[in-house]
Amino acid sequence: MSRTEAVPAMANGQARWEHTPSSGSGKAPRSELHHTPLGLTIMIPNWNHRGFLPRSISSARASIASMRDMGYPGEVLVIDDASRDGSGRLLRSLDGFYGWDDVSVLLLKENIGLAAVRNLGLELTRFSHVLFLDADNEVFPSGVATLFRAALETGAAYCYGNLLDIQQGKAVGIRSNEAPTLRLTVENYIDALAMVDAKQALALGGYADDPRFGFCEDWEFAMHLVAEESEIAFVPTVVGNYHVLPLSMISESVGPESERFSAQMRRVYAQSGTREWDPERVGRVYHPDIGFLDEGWLPDEP
């Protein structure tokens, strides 16, 4: 594990980042131009989720090992957003104890918010793609590999697959289980756990670091991609587990604050509530073992 501590600096009202590239494992230096090799960074943004970091990091490392078996390089990048629960100390301990060479850690001294942390991950990746894994969730190696193959074969800017909701060890729901349609203008049914083409994402401005969207930054990003006609692909495989916790986003996303953010999203993207009925396809369904699955409808006459 390599570790960097960084302080965000503000210049002309925009966040800039001062960081020192980690020196571990002889990997290629991070490139601002993103002429990056095909490969994957599993980026774990963390804020006060100390207790869950071992699980998410472990699942990410297993997935990266699977990627390497496929012949693609990869790494795990944990960015701690100035946690106050001792996450930093834990990450230092893991660093000292295990000395992983496939994990990099960036410890921010000031909290910058989730959208900015995600953008930092896009900027810091050494590889073509970034998978965002919230610190309390976990991914499966097979699912990550399938998602990566789909991303390469489709060239999609954004790929996602099924997540099982797990509560007290039992599957209680499923999310990210729908193909992308304009129903996205009404509600967000795609979780933030998605694989992003870093170059395409940065070219479109990344995640909106805008308080008006609150914790809907992933929803806004998906809708931004739709508006820019970038490709989004749903991959019908099980990618990971979403652990339902009392303080997880799922619990926060109810109530007046959530409704305010949702109203803002609809104001920007739904355009008076008309577009959700538009049958226009906004994304694809693709599985690398089958191909595109959203084609082949016969005419309406049987």
């Binding site: 499966f140 097979s142 099924n162 349609t181 019908p236 369904v285 089958i290 082949g296 016969l298 049987p302």
Partner: protein
């Protein structure tokens, strides 16, 4: 049409399908019309429920109408089936478990039926909830062309995808998916959107997309969305026509021999079977079942003779 109608002694059969409903029922109507087209004394017309009001009443009069899923036909308009009052004989065609509320609701509509035709693998006449409406059972055998395809199939296993689950989301199916992933393995295909009609533009899998999925799948697994004993014959046919092994999991009833294809009490029992027997053997067992009941043409001929 006019010339055909003038043919003396030929029965006019209207197979009415729901254009705005689930694509599955369009497929069912299409299969019935193909089976009916083999009848030499019958002229068959496949017609959208939405087009009935444009039909001449005189043309409908004297016809036998098979209405595939009346509830979904009514999605085109509450009175869209009214012209069928003129028909000589009307039957509702369904492929459902007759004990569900969904089946019962089929008969709440505007017109009455002289028969209900149930397409499936098991005669449900003894539990049919409407004794005043005669029940007719149509075995869902393959069409002749499908029989040839099934007989000639030489699937190789293992396939790229160990399992596939394609169904509308329910709580039970979420748990089912988790079991499939953890017990049968992660190389699975999971398409489980919220329930809505399978139609173009709805973000659902088309029939051809399902076919291409099953072409790469070893076990096509499913479980019912209700607790009544029932076997979904169309899922069976979809699997066998793609060389996949149909695997119904039903925690309440299991069938290892008898009139129905094999069903499993749990994912673990399916996994145990998959460990003990070659996939090729399991497929052969289902191929035999598929080919053992003649063709849909023959079954339909028997049925329509009584109507």
């Amino acid at each position: 049409m006019t010339i055909e109608s003038a043919a003396v002694g030929r029965r006019r059969l209207l197979v009415v399908y729901p254009p705005l409903g689930n694509r599955f029922y369009c497929e069912l109507a299409l299969r019935l019309s193909k089976a009916a087209s083999a009848l030499i004394d019958t002229e068959t017309h496949l017609i959208s429920a939405a087009d009935l009001e444009a039909c001449d009443t005189g043309w409908i009069r004297g016809a036998t109408a098979l209405v595939v899923n009346p509830v979904e036909c009514a999605l085109s308009g509450q009175r869209v089936l009214s012209p069928l009052y003129a028909s000589r004989f009307r039957a509702a065609v369904l492929a459902e478990c007759v004990e569900t509320g969904w089946f019962r609701s089929q008969f709440d509509g505007e017109i009455d039926y002289q028969a209900v035709i149930d397409v499936g693998f098991v005669d449900q006449g003894s539990v049919h909830p409407f004794p005043k409406i005669p029940y007719r059972f149509l075995f869902n055998a393959p069409l002749p062309a499908e029989s040839e395809l099934i007989a000639a199939m030489r699937p190789k296993y293992p396939r790229r995808l160990t399992w596939a689950l394609v169904a509308a989301r329910t709580d039970e199916r979420v748990r089912f998916a988790e079991e499939l992933h953890s017990i049968l393995g992660p190389e699975g295909f999971l398409f489980m959107p919220d329930v809505r009609p399978v139609r173009p533009g709805a973000g659902m899998l088309s029939p051809s997309a399902l076919k291409r999925t099953l072409d790469q799948t070893t076990f096509y697994v499913w479980r019912s969305h209700h607790d009544f004993p029932y076997y979904e014959s169309f899922r069976f046919m979809d699997a066998v026509l793609s060389g996949a092994i149909p695997c119904k999991v039903d925690g309440q009833t299991s069938c290892e021999s008898g009139p129905l294809p094999r069903t499993y009490r749990s994912v673990r029992s399916l996994a145990a079977e998959a460990d003990q027997r070659p996939a090729q053997d399991l497929f052969e067992e289902h191929r035999e079942f598929a080919l053992a009941h003649g063709s849909l043409d023959d079954c339909f001929r028997e049925l329509i003779r009584d109507v």
